[in-house]
């Protein structure tokens, strides 16, 4: 039963990683860049929600509904100011620029909110601690179920967007070949800005779950980035549904690792990631594979 519990917990944890990784996967798929500030943007979303909860006294989910459009706009602005510029300057520049941005966000959060550890668990309602007791030893947590359902909705909605809406077709066309897309009149800059806006908004969903599931602090970002990137790589870079699978594989590795020894949790995830990289010999397939 402990093993079954661990597997279910691993799937829930993995769904959380998949949500966190989704934006990273989108940005890599569309622009071929990895945003090293991705984790910090997720944490920024959590802080924004936290502020609204404190000021307005509303539940975390209501506060997040207000924070989400702000994060969308922030993502859009991020693309038109920093990322757009860095894209033109070669392979390493986006990494360098977003690494600098990551340090800036972390330390601004540190200035604004002190290094204290926060959580949104208390303001998300009683159901965060609720669970369905199936047998005496086995139960399913309501929050875990919610994260899994949201993960499937997020990935499903993205799939529908990319497959059935003109904006989605344009995004896929730009991802395949930006120059050819420009030739038929697509403004790739606008597409990139939209993709980043969506990516940052989904990152903040991840930030919300981080804040409700456990605790967060100004320096939580880099760890979230590593887990998100691991999920993307394990699932296959550029594959959207692969990221969901990769997230769940990472979550399972961590909870099963913790079964051996509490300190093996994160280590097991890292080792799975390195093993996948080794198996692919790094080159890998770097094309955006979106199921039609």
């Amino acid at each position: 039963m402990t093993l079954l519990n661990a597997i279910v917990q691993g799937i829930f944890l993995g769904a959380f990683y998949a949500v966190l990784a989704c934006g990273l996967s989108i940005m890599f798929g569309v622009m071929r860049i990895i945003n090293l500030a991705h984790g910090d943007l997720a944490v920024l979303g959590a802080y924004l929600t936290f502020v609204i909860v404190e000021r307005a006294g509303v539940s975390a989910f209501v506060a997040f509904a207000i924070a989400l459009p702000v994060m969308l706009v922030l993502g859009y602005l991020l693309q038109v100011t920093i990322l757009g510029r860095s894209l033109k300057a070669g392979l390493l520049t986006p990494l360098l620029a977003t690494f600098g941005l990551s340090i800036v966000i972390q330390n601004l959060l540190l200035i604004a909110f002190s290094p204290d550890v926060r959580s949104l668990g208390g303001s998300a309602g009683a159901f965060t601690t609720a669970s369905w007791q199936l047998t005496s030893e086995f139960s399913i947590s309501a929050l875990g179920m919610l994260v899994l359902v949201v993960a499937v909705i997020v990935f499903g909605a993205l799939q529908l967007f990319l497959s059935y809406t003109p904006a989605g077709w344009i995004m896929r066309a730009t991802a395949e070949d930006p120059e050819a897309a420009e030739l038929v009149g697509i403004d790739s800059k606008a597409v990139y800005a939209r993709a980043t806006a969506i990516a940052v908004a989904i990152a903040s969903v991840g930030g919300l779950f981080l804040a409700i599931r456990s605790v967060f602090e100004p320096t939580s970002g880099p760890t979230q980035l590593i887990f998100a990137f691991e999920a993307v790589v394990i699932g296959g870079m550029g594959s959207l549904w692969g990221t969901l699978v990769g997230g769940i594989a990472l979550g399972l590795a961590q909870t099963l690792g913790a079964q051996l020894h509490p300190q093996f949790s994160v280590l097991a995830g890292h080792l799975l990631f390195l093993a996948v990289l080794l198996a692919r010999f790094g080159g890998g397939r770097l094309t955006l594979r979106v199921a039609r």
Binding site: L92, F99, G100, Q106, N107, L267, L277
Partner: protein, 333 residues
């Protein structure tokens, strides 16, 4: 038309650099332990910047995980000293260990590209950090001190450590200097300028990158060795911190990516900033991050790259310049 390597300026400056190195050697005889310790820190920064630049500037390898080698060097020193080796011998052994570890690691890491390499190295550093935390003999998560150093009087200890730092820095900078001037160096600079073009001209890109990776492994290991000798206490949280990568990126980007002189300039700048804002604190890090990002976007070859371009100035002769009879123009090799 002739091709020129040395100029008056570069002769003067290379001579002056040698003179500075010699002059630095007498620092511990003149100044107190406080200044000696600070200058040791400066030398560590120079060494780290030069090594990160070797990777990113010449190999196109952006690593966010060089703290892995800093940690191996630092913990290796504690480990060998614990086995009964004299602390300074332990420092040499730990440097060799870090370099040796980088060889098998390169087989794996160099297959990765761009972000995969950057974050892959970061994860490797995290894994090593977790393994150290699991080992009680290395102080687990709480840290460990290099108490064997206490057999030396503080003044002598500081002086020895400083000389060791000076020796390592000169050694690795000289290695870079002669490497870049050798026929191999021409291929490295070609990779820096355009990797695909270099490959199509027959440059063995993979083996060149391996050389840089191992050199940086040795160099960052040496820096880690010096960190523990200078502070006498280490903990996994700080020695494996990604902050080291942040410092290296700042120094190299501001100083000048892919130039020989730039990282040294960047290290001096960071040292000056650290000495001025002794409290450190978040605003100082906001400034560092923002400056690094700005340089990446606006001035990708840093201050030194801009100076070189503007004035055609080259202080260390690691390239060639073409001098036409009528008009002095220059081109980098």
């Amino acid at each position: 038309m002739k091709v020129q390597r040395w100029t008056r300026t570069s002769k003067l400056f290379t001579g002056a650099t040698g003179a500075v190195a010699v002059a630095l050697a007498v620092v511990p005889l003149i100044f107190g332990p406080d200044i000696v310790q600070k200058l040791t820190n400066l030398l560590i920064l120079v060494l780290l910047a030069a090594m990160w630049n070797a990777l990113a500037g010449y190999g196109g390898l952006l690593s966010v995980g060089q703290q892995a080698f800093i940690g191996i060097g630092a913990y290796g020193t504690v480990f060998f000293a614990g086995m009964g080796f004299s602390p300074y011998l332990a420092m040499l052994l730990a440097t060799v260990l870090a370099g040796a570890v980088s060889v098998p690691m390169s087989l794996f890491a160099l297959r990765l590209r761009a972000a995969q390499f950057a974050i892959g190295m970061w994860v490797i550093a995290e894994v090593i950090s977790i393994l150290v935390r699991l080992d009680n003999n290395l102080g687990a998560g709480t840290g460990i001190s290099l108490f064997q150093m206490n057999q030396f009087a503080p003044n002598f200890r500081q002086a020895y450590t400083f000389w060791m730092a000076l020796g390592f820095t000169v050694l690795f900078l000289a290695a870079m200097f002669f490497l870049l001037r050798s026929p191999l160096g021409a291929s490295l600079q070609a990779i820096r300028d355009d990797e695909d073009a270099a490959r199509s001209l027959g440059v063995r890109v993979a083996s060149r990158k391996r050389l840089l990776f191992v050199l940086a492994g040795f160099g960052c290991g040496a820096a880690g060795v010096l960190v523990v000798a200078n502070t006498l206490f280490i903990e996994p949280g700080s020695v494996f911190s990604v902050q080291w990568s942040a410092y290296m990126i700042f120094m190299v980007l501001v100083g000048g990516l892919g130039t020989f002189e730039g990282p040294i300039l960047g290290a001096i700048l960071l040292f000056a900033i650290q000495t001025t804002f002794t409290q450190g604190g978040p605003w100082y890090l906001v400034g560092l991050g923002a400056t690094a990002a700005l340089f990446a976007l606006v001035l990708p070859r840093g201050l030194w790259g801009a100076i070189e371009e503007r004035f055609g100035l080259r202080l260390m002769p690691v390239g060639y310049r073409v001098v036409s009879p009528e008009k002095k123009s220059e081109a980098s090799a």
